[in-house]
């Protein structure tokens, strides 16, 4: 070991020059990321390097989890088992009905010669951490490219829609929650069938149904489900419950706030729906085909 000599004269570029250089590069990265999304590959490389560190950082919390699980009492477990069994019974009944309905639905769709709605493949994932960045509502989940997760796939939990995969790293992916300021979900009121778009506002526990006319048939307590017209979310996933409807003549639209159905920031287990039904091309952008190849059935 040698005593490092303090530099007597400054060598190389001055601190200000270095600062300018690095801050310019950082600004360029910020613009490239926020405007053009060019840097996915760079981010993936950094993510791979970071992966072991993240595992190390998460280890203590996981250990604590396991310890608290170890010390769960017999009574707690029995109680939980009972509730789950009851829940299972209810679910089984619903499932039986669902199977019958699915069969019937398939037959009807066959009759109508429409696109069969595909059954959903899903990947189970765990939320590694949440809310690091107070500006956005995003979480990192434990599955990534290696588990067939792709950008845009919907993420749900037991109660409803949680969000959407917005970035995929090799062993993890980033999910933007529906409460994020930039997230919108096309929804439908279950009771009346009215369609609308649900906006996140950037705070937990609140969503807004914007641009709905005064006369729209929406009441407090209405359940909102995905309408499925966007091709991202399959139809019928519970999204939110209407909490407050304010019809004020001073504004152009009714102000409708809703509460997310899913435990957007409560649970740790989520499902990523990996195989959603292929959505037909937007006819507006389709090149006019000279001839339809597909023959009509049963002419």
């Amino acid at each position: 070991m040698e005593h490092a000599q303090q530099p007597f004269f400054n060598r190389g570029p001055t601190p200000f020059a270095r600062f300018l250089l690095f801050s310019l590069v950082a600004l360029m990265l910020i613009v490239a990321d926020s405007r053009f999304r060019y840097l996915t590959h760079v981010q993936q490389v950094v993510a791979v390097v970071l992966y072991p560190l993240q595992r190390v950082a998460l280890a203590p919390a996981a250990l604590l989890d396991r310890m608290s699980g170890f010390f769960a009492t017999q009574a707690q477990l029995t109680g939980r088992n009972n509730t789950l069994e009851q829940q299972n019974l209810i679910n089984a009944a619903a499932l039986l009905r669902l199977e019958a309905l699915e069969l019937e639905n398939a037959r009807l769709r066959g009759l109508l010669d429409t696109r069969a709605s595909h059954s959903q493949a899903a990947v189970h994932a765990e939320i590694l951490y949440s809310h690091r960045d107070p500006f956005t509502r995003r979480v990192i989940i434990s599955k990534g490219m290696s588990d067939n997760i792709g950008q845009g796939q919907p993420v749900v939990d037991a109660a409803g829609l949680v969000g959407q995969v917005t970035r995929v790293y090799p062993w993890a992916s980033q999910v933007t929650l529906i409460t994020d300021k930039d997230m919108t979900v096309p929804v439908q009121v279950m009771r009346s069938g009215v369609r609308g778009v649900l906006f996140g506002v950037g705070s937990d526990g609140t969503l807004e149904l914007r641009f709905m006319p005064f006369s729209a048939d929406i009441q407090t307590g209405d359940k909102l489900v995905t309408s499925g017209i966007d091709g991202t979310y399959p139809a019928g996933l519970p999204v939110a419950t209407v909490q407050e409807v304010e019809r004020n003549a001073a504004f152009m639209f009714a102000r409708i706030s809703a509460q997310p159905a899913a435990g957007v920031n409560r649970y740790r287990q989520v499902l990523v729906l990996t195989a959603s039904a292929p959505h037909p091309e937007n006819p507006g952008f389709e090149e006019p085909a000279p001839q339809r190849k597909r023959g009509r059935k049963g002419g």
């Binding site: 950082a57 960045d133 956005t136």
Partner: protein, 174 residues
């Protein structure tokens, strides 16, 4: 006797570069811990503190490049805008470079008020970048963590300098 301006001067052993890199790694892991609840805004930015310390102490070993790289790592880990922490840590590196000689004149408790503006500026830079990108203001709690960081500074100084303090053998003081 009233004449001395600076803190009590110490003779220190030279730094081990391995320890420097190790502490930066530990700081990064500390930032990546799953902080929850109030801790999300109360916790100091450990990487910024470690960077500040090492750039002040060992400017020949680390500088802007390391600060920038650690910033990129933080951005990917936090799923935030790519480059925002890189920019913030570049600001920290500039502050550390400018304050390097001055800090040696003061004892560590007097450092607090001098490094606070650096940490606040870095935090403000992130806020400005995000606001320019259309994000909503996250509330004034955003500016708490620089204060926690500055208050932790004397502790950082003691811990990170500990391996360099010579162990004095009582049998042979010299």
């Amino acid at each position: 006797m009233g004449m001395s301006i600076g803190p009590r001067q110490e003779l220190l052993l030279p730094v081990r570069p391995g320890f420097l890199w190790f502490t930066l790694l530990v700081a990064l892991i500390a930032n990546l811990l799953p902080w929850d609840g109030v801790w999300t805004w109360l916790k100091p930015d450990f990487v910024a503190l470690a960077l500040l310390f090492w750039i002040v102490r060992e400017p020949r070993l680390i500088g802007f490049g390391v600060a920038f790289a650690l910033g990129l790592a933080m951005d990917v880990a936090q799923a935030s805008l790519f480059g925002q922490h890189a920019l913030a840590y570049t600001v920290v590196a500039l502050g550390a470079t400018l304050l390097r000689r001055r800090l040696r004149m003061f004892s560590t408790d007097k450092h607090i008020l001098q490094i606070l503006p650096i940490l606040l500026t870095a935090q403000a830079v992130i806020l400005l970048v995000r606001l320019a990108g259309g994000a909503a203001f996250p509330g004034w709690t955003w500016f708490v963590s620089p204060f926690t960081g500055a208050l932790l500074w004397p502790l950082v100084w003691i811990v990170l300098l500990a391996p360099q303090r010579p162990r004095i053998d009582p049998e042979h003081p010299i």
